[in-house]
Subunit: 333 residues, 2 copies
């Protein structure tokens, strides 16, 4: 195994976020399931946007948020995701490159516009996402740069990749290349409804060791094993994957490996403004700890710190240097 060029390479749906603060009534009036991610078509997107209040826009996408968080911590990172060569796609490409991430996926010259998500943030800080995949549907295994994947210590993949038609082929190809090169493969389960859609396939990825590390929140874990018994689900997770990390909001996280289970507390926050990106940034901090060999406890604290930063403002990308923030909190960077 040659030395790695990147600490983490992420692959995901490249999505531009359109965020609006709204009330519970808006969700109800539009039949939205609070806290979830719903896939929408163009007609539904037009309907939601027509009724939405004034928004703030910024680049997003689950794995991309994680990769940008890693870059903010000082990691060497790369990203693969599909945008279109349109105005929004150009904003997207700028932002991820400006964050210090290597991003070379060819933009689609035609087809649907760059994907976007209408994210409704309620007064309690919870976010409800309505995602139009757009150009993200065009991601194929042809977009996987084998050399880049093989040169990355960890390949990080989002469960959402199961939604576009051909992205799962890209996922499987990347995982195979990574393992061939002696690298690790991490998966986030993304969303409990996403787990509902692809439960069998996600379990297969874990049981066949296509993935070495799984990130899940409680809802996703419960959905995966179709149980409301946390401890039972955690036991199953331990037997299905080498390393499982379960986030539990203000209760922190649980790291489950073959060696044992340990709980890591959350960081206190002044006020939760917008939970968009909480899980993504947790994964960023945890993966950063892993690639720096910091141990699960410190990795969990790094994840908790990054998540705490992102939920205290609107949007899923850090607004401050996570490296400086980690230093200020005595965490290894």
């Amino acid at each position: 195994m040659t030395s790695a060029k990147y600490d983490v390479l992420g692959i995901g749906n490249a999505i531009f976020d359109v965020l609006v603060q709204t009330d519970e009534g808006f969700l109800a009036a539009h039949g939205m399931t609070k806290g979830g991610m719903s896939l929408i078509d163009e007609a539904r997107a037009a309907e939601i946007y027509r009724d939405m209040g004034p928004a703030v826009e910024m680049s997003g996408g689950s794995a991309a948020n994680t990769i940008v968080g890693l870059a903010s911590l000082g990691a060497r990172t790369a990203y693969i995701g599909k945008i279109k060569d349109d105005q929004i796609g150009r904003l997207y490409a700028h932002d991820i490159r400006a964050a210090g991430v290597a991003f070379g996926t060819a933009a689609a010259a035609d087809g649907p516009a760059t994907g976007c998500s209408y994210i409704l943030v309620t007064p309690d800080g919870e976010r409800t996402m309505n995602t139009y995949l757009g150009a993200a549907q065009q991601l194929t295994s042809g977009d996987i740069d084998a050399a880049e994947v093989a040169a990355s210590s960890i390949v990080y993949l989002e469960g959402y990749l199961w939604d576009p038609k051909d992205a799962k082929d890209a996922f499987v190809k990347a995982a195979a290349i990574a393992h061939q090169a002696g690298r690790q493969v991490a998966l986030t389960l993304s969303d409990s409804f996403c787990v509902d859609r692809y439960r069998g396939e996600f379990l297969e990825l874990m049981r066949q060791a296509t993935v070495d590390l799984v990130f899940a929140n409680e809802a996703e874990l419960h959905s995966l094993y179709e149980t409301s018994d946390f401890d039972a689900a955690l036991r199953q997770l331990r037997s299905d994957v080498g390393l499982g990390v379960v986030t539990r909001s203000e209760k922190g996280c649980v790291v489950a490996s073959k060696d044992g289970v340990s709980a890591v507390p959350a960081f206190p926050v002044r006020a939760i403004v917008d939970t968009t990106g909480a899980g993504d940034l947790f994964a960023a901090g945890f993966l950063f700890g892993l690639v720096r060999g910091a141990g699960y406890e410190a990795a969990g604290r790094l994840g908790a710190l990054a998540a705490a930063e992102v939920i205290q403002h609107i949007g899923a990308r850090p607004q401050t240097s996570l490296k400086e923030l980690a230093k200020a909190n005595g965490l290894p960077v």
Copy 2:
């Protein structure tokens, strides 16, 4: 004079803001004048954007920010400004309409893209703007809807309209229609460098009573009269315009009318995050006070409150209901 359909109709350059937090070094390295608004061409825009960090996007434009602030206070508002029918233009149109503002200016079908401003926010909260006018250059007197202008109690115009080729014709036409209908015309001087460019014309607008009310900050006032003597400049302002309102950052504002001069204090702020929109939102609050007949003191306080809200977060549009905020602070709404 028939009863008004709108309290305030604003006319300005429709600009999409691309905001980034940066350091003083970036401004120096790119030869930018801190705190100002520089007009840039496409090549310079590309150069700045290439070097800029990850950004956050939202609709902006000076007069548009004021009009959105007025709408947030509960005023009936309309806006005239030129966008292109492109992705960013559609975001722009959505945001202003979603704020409750009547916006009917035809989008340009071709020509340059919707205008945008690269706004660099330094750690002290000061903003430095680099504006590519784009489609805003296409605003002409043909875009002035005479019936809408005549139906608005106040027409609010930005000095920046002197920059695009034909927008000043639109400005003069709108002012004439407003006066014909017995309405009032307000002008913001926009920026001290803008005053430098059009000093003679701005003074003529005031002295010929094309405008009834002028908003300026200290730098703009000093530039207008080419003096560093505040009191002398204020005396000239009083003699040149019916009502002059000068904002002085943390020192509050001074309202100068034929009847006298009164000072109104600023609202305390916890921390200045981004001054983008401070003057625009001050004007929103002040104009709201005027149209509600609240008196200069209360109008100045409403302006100070709206400005205080907007400088405590990134971006030039209010993030909370200014109506509720004013109520909570015992101000008339």
